[in-house]
């Protein structure tokens, strides 16, 4: 079993020292039917976007447990993207509506713990919106880069 408990972990990181070479590392949870397919289309359309995102495929944005996001920050990733189908387009009818309610809550909770809200993005990307996917990745990467490396030891996760 992976470590899923949210305990206070004080792992000091050396990364800040290597600021010059620093590139943000972002985990993206993409729903299988819209956003993952949108990212696929960005590839088949040979679009270009920053290489800072690592995709985790989930069946639906409603599958994204806020725990996953907390887990990402606990590990020390710099940002998290959650993307799903547009309202009304969810393959599972309404999973994305649950995500839409959960994500702002997770964001607020994380802000309370010391994670800047700008590190978390919840967005809609349809299977046809390859350009939008590239643009979301681009803007989130820039936003997270501007915030600097995420220092896990400074927050109360």
């Amino acid at each position: 079993m992976a470590d899923t408990r949210l305990t206070v972990q004080q792992t000091a990181k050396e990364r800040v020292a290597a600021q010059t070479a620093w590139e943000p590392l972002i985990v993206a949870f993409l729903c299988n039917w819209c956003s993952y397919a949108g990212a696929d289309l960005a590839g088949s359309s040979r679009m270009s976007y920053p290489p800072n995102v690592r995709v985790v495929r989930v069946p639906c944005s409603g599958r994204v447990n806020p725990l996953f996001i907390m887990s990402c920050f606990k590990k020390g990733f710099d940002g998290v993207l959650v993307a799903g189908c547009h309202p009304g387009d969810c393959h599972y009818v309404k999973g994305n509506y649950y995500a839409r309610r959960r994500m702002p809550l997770a964001q607020e909770l994380l802000e309370y713990m010391g994670v800047e809200p700008g590190r978390i993005r919840f967005d809609w990307v349809s299977a046809a919106e390859s350009g939008r996917f590239a643009q979301v990745v681009q803007s989130l990467t820039e936003q997270v880069r501007a915030l600097g490396p995420f220092a896990v030891n400074k927050v109360h996760i």
């Binding site: 590839g43 040979r46 994204v64 996953f68 990733f77 999973g95």
Partner: protein, 661 residues
Amino acid sequence: MARIGVFVCWCGSNIAKTVDVEQVAAEAGTIPGVVHSADYKYMCSQPGQAMLREAIAEHRLDRVVVAACSPRLHEATFRNCIAAAGLNPFMAEIANIREHCSWVHGDRAVATPKALDLTRMAVARSRRNEALVQTEIPLTKRALVVGGGIAGIQAALDIAEAGYQVTLVERTPSIGGRMAQYDKTFPTLDCAACILTPKMVECASNPNIRIVTHAEVESVSGFVGNFEVTVRRRARSVDLEKCTGCGICYEKCPVKVPSEFDGGLGMRKAIYVPFPQAVPNVPVIDREHCTYYLRGKCRLCEKFCTIGAVRFDETDEVFTEKFGAIVTATGFDVWDQSAAGEYGAGQYPDVISGLQFERLANASGPTAGKILRPSDHTEPKTVVFVACVGSRDPAHGHPYCSKVCCMYTAKHALLLKEKVPDAKAYIFYMDIRANGKGYEEFVQRVVERYDATYVRGRVSRIYSLDGHLVVQGADTLLGKQVEVHADMVVLATAMEPRADAKDVARRLGLSTDQDNWFTEAHPKLRPVEVLTAGIYLAGACHYPKDIPDTVAQASGAAAKVVDLFAKPHLLSEPMIAFVDDATCAACLLCKEVCPFTAIEAAEITDMATRKPRTVARVNSGLCHGCGTCVAACRSASILLRGFSDDQILLQIESLAQAHGL
């Protein structure tokens, strides 16, 4: 310890150009648990797959990671491939290093480490891959068609022709639906009844079709292949078996009621057959108007029925049956034009709807096919047709185009001219949308050969003056106000969802859009399916459609049903949710959030206390595997197979490790 094999695909140069595949394969080989790694030009090719299968045997691999293109393309390929080598198909995992990496990054120095990250994540995830089994689900090869209009008739005939049993449930006393009310059909001017009634008769005579009229579906439970449907057949008060359809009963009945079938323009009796070609051709007693039911006497029909088919004591019959698939073909309503007060509908008898005009033009209609004004039964010489009445009109609740009105209005203008040669038709329109085979040509013919005057603009007001109707409107092409003194006005009223569409949707487990039309599974690629497997849509319950589109969709829905029934049994979806009884506290939040009502409370005997306890239970036939319940579960008691918390957290952890986090 897992024995994982990693296979990195070059995809020709698609991946290899920007990703150092050999390096990825070599480094993947050092991940704990990976006992074999290789790279190959085209993993999906026959030799690529053969190599994979051989490696499984040689290295006794128990799970496989293929770093290649998107799993949306070749996940199934590699699942089948490893199944052929004796592994469980769900032991194959894909790392998407093409669409998500090599194609979007140009720099090898950037793309190679990212591809390795993605591969590591897939390896981590694969450690928790479980051997999933698709169980066989029994399949009832009998279809239910709800709605006996042309959509339902066509779907029922197609399914029956393929050799499967069909039950066709119709709410009114006869099948036939809206199409039976029409006179001619555009653009060919076939008489609607002439092409519809043979199909109705075919339905009645086909041994595979059982028609249940004057009945409604009360509830549907179960899931694809195994629906339990409860139908209420309302008392007809006439014995379906005995009645010969001689018609003496309605000849003798003293009660006259405006006929729904004729749009209120004609009268029917309290015991009646809705229209002459009705199937079944058996009368029904309208208990709300029958003197016997109202005052306890009369029974004239019973007295005159020589074979004793009238049964005043008949009661509703409720039956429950199993069906494997359901075709929803419940049709549409026509907007009640009296809501458009500015057009005087409901106020002036000579302002009628398009559907009423159909009945006027029809030989079996209230005027025996003569175009006569409802007010004084004279022939109208000037008729104004108003298109888009209620349609494309958000103010009246129909932002959509009703699609058929442009065409039937043109047809009405033509019928008017044929029946009253010295009549003149004016048509107020917004746009002419004649997009169908032969449609544009038809409209042009009406304009050129039938002298119809098309006025582009809206009608603002209609009022009565000296026995005429004054139609005030704008001609936006001339930029002028226009006024037409008309004898009759025909409003092309909007098609709208059935008044009880929401209720029907709830009963059948469908979803509705903002206008209450039933929602299809995908607007382009799955237009006849809905998101509940085993339920299909046909006709105008989905969106306004003309007859050709309706018939096409009905045949499409029937093909889907036949496709389903052609299988010996169904296979369960393996990547679904599963509740751990040991920790489930039965808060049933999962039940609340489930979009498919797949979760129910179940009683179990607690393993420790031996006492009964409630837990959540997932119905594997209904679960689609979205995982919304998993994220909602407060005690982490629900596992989504194939996308477990463990798998996702391991992916995150492996990525963190690789970056020294």
